[in-house]
């Protein structure tokens, strides 16, 4: 039974000022509508330009339910297409990445396409003479996605042709990507390895919310980070230098006051980040030679400005999180209402010492891997939430921490770091981008 389809008012009603209805996490119809509306109306990350270094390089991804394909053309331009053959719909590229050479060739009947998507050749072309094929959509080749923006090598696309512009959508929030890129002495990042992949049997939004949930680490991660700190204290012996591993685990156990003071910054359209004043990434030891490289590249003042920005988690609504200080991007890819594929990417800072990449890889496997004890703590909570939300006892999830009456949506603000306001910010954006292209809402606004 459709309760929510074409019913913007019913969808809006799921998001109250400081509560959301459990249907946003457990209702399969809501999930389908997210695939049909929320994801196409948003700007979605599909990959990094360094994955498309040479002409013919391609990557594949899914946006909502739709398979897409990005390629580097001979003239250097990046194009993004729907990953389906215009003949009978066969997926053109099946691997996560690769190089197709000068053209894509469909494996079914060998129609071929240039790397800009245009139709190159059809076997037995004569068979189409006089059929009016010139006017068919198939003659245009691969369907191109028009809204593609490559921002400092991060490739974003928006499927909806009438959506919010890239600049209006992200605004100032792009400063986190800027900071991550600027951390390379030559201002460049590179993807040189596949991501860590982790399957979560929970709704994708639970992961997104958790990125700015600062009241859980000292509780949920006592078992992992807490034990790491305890074992280190007991067994360190005469060594005084804290190993990298303990530096990475330790700050998770920081007290509430630490997180309160670190602060959260919110931006319009559901973006926001933890770690304004300081963060769990603030106190890593310097890596030999790196600061010198940065000073040489940017000058004393600018270099320290860049390195002094230690944002913790930046949520780019709807479904990625960027960690500038350790060069990680996590992509929360929705599979089903209760199933989410998490891909955690590490970028290499081009020109920086290997040790920085080593630390980023270590952070990624400590925190984001299916073998990560920190990851086990979090996933256990999401799975229990997915189960618990079936309860009819109370159908609302409470996001009221530090709520103030009359709180404004779609503004920039810096707030107490233990606030749930960024989650409220996300749900405001959620309702907006779910319904922005639904008939009724548009009529109501006019």
């Amino acid at each position: 039974m459709d309760r929510y389809r074409n019913n913007a008012l019913a969808i809006d009603a799921l998001v109250r000022d400081a509560e959301v209805h459990r249907d946003v996490y457990v209702d399969p119809e809501i999930f389908e509508l997210e695939m049909e509306h929320l994801f196409p109306n948003s700007w979605i990350y599909v990959g990094h330009a360094s994955q498309l270094a040479k002409p013919g390089d391609f990557i594949t991804a899914n946006i909502g339910r739709q398979p897409v394909l990005a390629s580097r053309h001979t003239d250097g331009a990046i194009h993004v297409f729907y990953n389906r053959c215009p003949h009978k719909g066969v997926k053109i590229a099946s691997e996560p990445c690769g190089n197709t050479g000068k053209f894509f060739r469909c494996p079914y009947h060998a129609w071929s396409f240039k790397t800009d998507g245009s139709l190159l050749a059809i076997p037995l072309k004569k068979g189409y003479e006089g059929t009016g094929f010139g006017d068919a959509q198939a003659n245009e080749g691969l369907s191109r996605i028009r809204n593609v923006v490559v921002y400092r090598d991060f490739i974003f696309v928006q499927l909806n042709d009438n959506g919010v512009s890239f600049e209006d959508y992200f605004g100032e929030s792009l400063s986190t990507i800027d900071n991550m890129v600027d951390r390379s002495p030559v201002g460049k990042l590179a993807v040189v390895a596949a991501p860590i992949r982790y399957m979560h049997t929970c709704n994708w939004k639970m992961l997104v919310e958790n990125q700015t949930d600062t009241c859980h680490p000292m509780v949920a991660h006592e078992s992992s980070a807490g034990t790491a700190v305890k074992v280190w204290k007991r067994e360190q012996g005469s060594s005084t230098e804290t190993p990298m591993a303990v530096q990475l685990y330790g700050p998770f156990m920081s007290p509430y006051e630490f997180y309160e003071q670190s602060g959260i910054r919110i931006w319009p359209n559901g973006h926001g980040h933890t770690g304004v004043a300081n963060s769990i990434h603030s106190n890593y030891s310097d890596i030999e030679g790196y600061v010198g490289q940065m000073v040489a590249a940017y000058g004393e003042k600018r270099a320290h400005e860049i390195l002094g920005e230690v944002r913790h988690n930046t949520v780019y609504f709807p479904n990625i999180m960027v960690k500038g200080a350790v060069q990680i991007l996590r992509n929360f890819i929705p599979i089903a209402v209760d199933k989410t594929l998490v891909e955690s990417w590490v970028y290499r800072l081009v020109g920086a010492p290997d040790k920085l990449y080593e630390r980023a890889l270590m952070y990624n496997r400590f925190i984001n891997a299916p073998t990560s004890i920190v990851g086990h703590d979090d996933l256990e909570m999401y799975e229990r939430a997915q189960e618990g939300l079936k309860s009819n006892g109370n159908q609302w999830v409470n996001l009221q921490r530090l709520y103030e009456a009359g709180e404004q949506a779609d503004v920039t603000a810096v707030i107490n770091g233990t606030s749930e306001r960024q989650m409220r910010n996300q749900f405001h954006a959620w309702a907006k981008f779910m319904t922005i292209d639904m008939g009724e809402r548009i009529e109501a606004a006019e």
């Binding site: 992992s224 280190w232 080593e358 891997a369 073998t371 996933l379 256990e380 909570m381």
Partner: protein, 158 residues
Amino acid sequence: MITEKTITDFIYREADLLDTMQWQAWLDLFHPEGRYWMPLEWQQHDPVLQPSLMYEDLLLLKVRVERLAGERTFSQKPKSRCHHLFQAPQIIACDPEAGVFKARTSYIYTETRGDMLERFSGWASHDLVQVGDSLKIKLKRVDLVNFDAPFGNIQLFM
């Protein structure tokens, strides 16, 4: 004298300790400089500058073991159990003179928790050293056949 049989027995004993959850005795099999490594690439050669699922020294393995029994380790309520099923270990090197002992073992690993059951296939490579009369693990490397698949939680040791 370390023989091929000593190596094989060691590998069977290691799996048995894991299957019977004798974690402390398992940790005791490691050399102080020992490592446990699960690569994330095919025929991976570098555990440091290539991504891995695990690359842990003894301190980090102790953290894991201690955590399994922790009062607030919610992902172990209920507890996981595991099972190893082997082919006969293939001896790669058994050279007491040079102190080099290596074996590779093909196996199926099962991890279960509550009603969940996950199965993994792969190869364990053991790089062992002689300490006194016995062998210790210098490196245990686990190569899953589908290292690149998206797994759920893997909480115990393969």
